[in-house]
Symmetry: C2
DNA sequence: TATTGTTATACTCTATAACTATA
DNA sequence: TATAGTTATAGAGTATAACAATA
């Protein structure tokens, strides 16, 4: 059983970067798409957790605080995200999508999902189901410790 | 059946960037690891296809020719790769790993695989088998057209 | 002329260090 | 004194455009 985990590790290490390259390339090709991968993930996170603080988002995306601050600068400049300080603790900021941000997220989402779905359509349905399951398992095991920090930051 | 491909696309889009972040973070944490993800993938490609040309590698990794030229500069400077022009067509170059390059690849491979395998070990064996299968399916469907170019460049 | 690769240049992304404001 | 976030600064990575060498 050890062998299977290692084999899976080898496969993940080989394939995951390849897939992300493809996604990134697809996002760049479309002139209409105004966000890159980390920005896209940030918008998606804010869609799911509106009102998140900078630290929470930085932790989830895997960027340092200064880097995330810059990234958010860009999103705010383009009116995709709002940033306002919290009343009860004015050090903290509350981030949320604007309607433009939501539209941009949806557009990028549809575009990229359509691109991937077209490729995935070449596979038999059962294989797609395997992929869904595999992705869910991978999501569960990633974020071993960082979840703890994210949770702590929420309280 | 369409729905499944789209669901798989959604999951892949969500999880693949997350996994690559983790891999990248792990490679950085280890001071001993002297390569980043694209460099690592380049070494792995040259291990599998020794004597590949710059164009072939650039195509496979998903970088432009100038960017790959730069990347290879760095690998050659650090004596991980050799670069020599081909006799029969002196425009083309032949890339190959040095013994240091092979060692570096193996070291990075072991380190990162061990990291992923440790996380994957939390899953039941059957789940790991699903992941292996899912990754193989994903690898097959990526590189829709670029494979053709890579193949053409080989001849 | 077409192709392979390099050089010149600039921009984006990200990090570390130092700082500000608030608690 | 500790924490949330920003600004300053620098380095890495990548792209496009222009170029050189070879076919």
């Amino acid at each position: 059983m050890r062998a299977t985990a290692e084999q899976a590790a080898r496969e993940v290490l080989d394939v995951a970067p390849l897939v992300v390259r493809e996604i990134r390339g697809e996002m760049r090709r479309h002139r209409s798409c105004e966000v890159n991968v980390p920005q896209f993930r940030t918008l998606a996170y804010l869609d799911r957790y509106p009102g998140a603080s900078l630290s929470e988002v930085a932790d989830h995306i895997g960027l340092t605080l200064p880097s995330m601050s810059r990234l958010v600068d860009g999103l705010v400049d383009r009116k995709l995200v709002t940033r306002q300080s919290q009343a009860q603790d004015r050090r903290r900021i509350t981030l949320a999508l604007t309607s433009r941000g939501r539209a941009s997220l949806e557009s990028a989402n549809e575009m990229t999902e359509a691109y991937l779905a077209e490729k995935l359509a070449a596979l038999p349905e059962a294989e797609c189901a395997h992929i869904v399951r595999a992705m869910q398992a991978l999501r569960d095991i990633m974020h071993g410790e960082s979840r703890v920090q994210a949770h702590a930051a929420e309280s």
